[in-house]
Subunit: 356 residues, 2 copies
């Protein structure tokens, strides 16, 4: 629409100029009118040719999204929002890519334990590593959060940031999901990728705000989602600046820096962005505070939840799931009229490879 | 230059179209040629009319900057850098605005102590507040870092983020520097503001990376420097998400979260941006690690230091100053050929108001 406006305006000016010039022949006027008509047809056709949300069924979710974006971007509309304030934040696990039967970052950590085991002979007799190496995930995680933290620190710390980035790149380029046999970065949601692009085309800045590791996401989010590293917010461990062989490096320390989940999400948003989002999308109770924080701003707001309802094409889970529990946030969404996307009904396809 | 290219291209296309149309009269062709020539003259004049770094003298510093920006933005140049990677980081105190005779944020904290004193009768007998309220700054700060931290926490914590933002806005709109009687936001460096704009016009993303408080800077950096809140990195205290009268707020806690100074600067850059800058500018030893981190990347790099050499128009200080100590970083800059800006020789004006 922006393009159409500009084109029209410039052509109109050109047209008016012809009246002032001494060469205002009928032929020149007709010529410009023809060009003007041609440009208008071209621009209009281009704008209408493709539905930017073509993987969404024409249900209420899509309608609310399209109306919201239309309203906040239409100059003169009472709900108009300046481009600089068009901040959109998205959870990652379960919102932009799948999270079953375990968070993909946990699959990464388990693969790393196996890869690192030869350098750690002591792991054979040390939990949670001993159970993990025997393939008994349940026993390994029996120690709860402490076991998980040990696994994370053993696999995510102790190297430079550049080394870790390369490890993540190698893993995402080769590791396959056990059920689908697809690369993890293929198990992303096509309708959400379209939504991200649609928002950016309308002047939004799209951010990830995830409980997952910031450095686990940044190496691939630009390629997969079009989200650059500086727009990825996540959990982190501390890093330390050091000189190593005369070169400065950042060493990754086995110490939690920030947990970007639940009440941590608004904290992360405020810390990294310093502006309140006008649109936020999540899929679990871990996103509730981000949605509340977004809703509490003035003016028109959009709060969305992806509800996993499709056991055939993806997974179906909500209130009782240990991963991606959607309970309190679902109640609040229903009470406050937030948009709940029914994956089964609202999405024509789930992952990009289904379109091929 | 971009505009010129586009203008030429569209007009050329329009011109070519005339050959295909059935109405290719000589008159229409002449008309378009005249328009084309007119547009070219207009665009060229606009591009050459103003020197974007007009407050810089034509010395070596300006030459290095202009050459660097030219090289990294010229497609086909061996030093060409994709726009997404054109990250530029700037220290704030002493680099973008003045820092004498005390950091402006300390002046803010002292003003806040005075403003809050009526609510804290106990301060009359409690250091460092008692000395401060008597106007004895030296005695107040005799306790070193601990005293400073007490002053900062008493004045920067205990309110919501929205309340603090308003306090900073009110202060920057009214408080005057004791020596110059100017607003603090007027005591910014015109040549650096021109450099920031010049970089952005060439596809750079400009960031602040300061030891100062992130929330002390964000309320005014967009207006003063053209740097939006999401591109401001600084020191911070922790915040906590809470419901207050049914509304979500972020409470500012009296607990240090992150110190964005010295070895903390590369940590902050990596945490917030996730990319290494190709240009960095500081003025003190607190910026040395940021400059080292920037220099260690591959490809062409620019490392700059503002050297305060102008006792008449600003202040002159370096190795022995307690504020903005420039000692080790000056040695390293000289040894490695980094650009050292001599404020007295390189800058035609220091602050914007001198131009008025």
């Amino acid at each position: 629409m922006m393009k159409k406006g500009t084109g029209e305006d410039e052509m109109t000016k050109l047209y008016r100029n012809t009246k002032k010039t001494t060469m205002k022949t009928r032929r020149a006027r007709i010529f410009l009118t023809v060009v003007l008509a041609f440009v208008l047809v071209l621009v209009t056709t281009a704008a209408w040719a493709a539905d930017p949300l073509s993987s969404w069924n024409d249900g209420p979710a899509k309608q609310v999204i399209v109306k919201f974006v239309g309203d906040v971007t239409r100059e003169g509309d009472p709900n108009f929002v300046q481009p600089a304030e068009r901040i959109a934040t998205f959870d990652n696990d379960g919102t932009l890519w799948a999270e079953q039967p375990m968070y993909f970052q946990l699959a990464f950590a388990l693969d790393r334990v196996k890869a690192l085991a030869p350098q750690h002979p002591e792991w054979k007799d040390k939990e949670p590593f001993a159970s993990l190496l025997k393939g008994d995930l349940k026993a390994a995680l029996a120690g709860g959060e402490r076991s998980l933290l040990e696994i994370v620190m053993a696999t995510h710390a102790g190297m430079t940031t550049a080394e870790f980035e390369q490890i993540v790149k190698d893993w995402t380029a080769t590791a396959k999901h056990l059920k689908t046999k697809r690369l993890y970065t293929e198990m992303v949601y096509q309708p959400m990728i379209e939504l991200l692009a649609f928002l950016r085309a309308n002047g939004f800045k799209t951010y990830i705000v995830s409980g997952g590791g910031i450095e686990f996401m940044r190496p691939w989010t630009e390629k997969v989602y079009g989200i650059p590293p500086e727009q990825v917010i996540g959990s982190s461990i501390k890093t330390k600046f050091e000189m190593k062989d005369g070169k400065p490096v950042l060493m990754r320390l086995p110490e939690v820096d920030f947990i970007d989940d639940k009440a941590g999400k608004p904290v992360g948003i405020h810390k990294f962005i310093g502006r309140r989002p006008i649109l936020a999308f999540g899929n679990s109770d871990g996103d509730l505070q981000m949605l509340q924080w977004t809703a509490a701003g003035s003016g028109m707001r959009f709060m969305g939840l992806v509800h996993h309802t499709d056991a055939d094409r993806e997974w179906a889970y909500d209130r009782k799931s240990h991963i991606g529990t959607l309970d309190k946030a679902l109640d609040e969404a229903q009470a406050k009229g937030w948009t709940v996307v029914d994956m089964k009904k609202d999405w024509k396809v789930i992952c990009p490879f289904e379109k091929q």
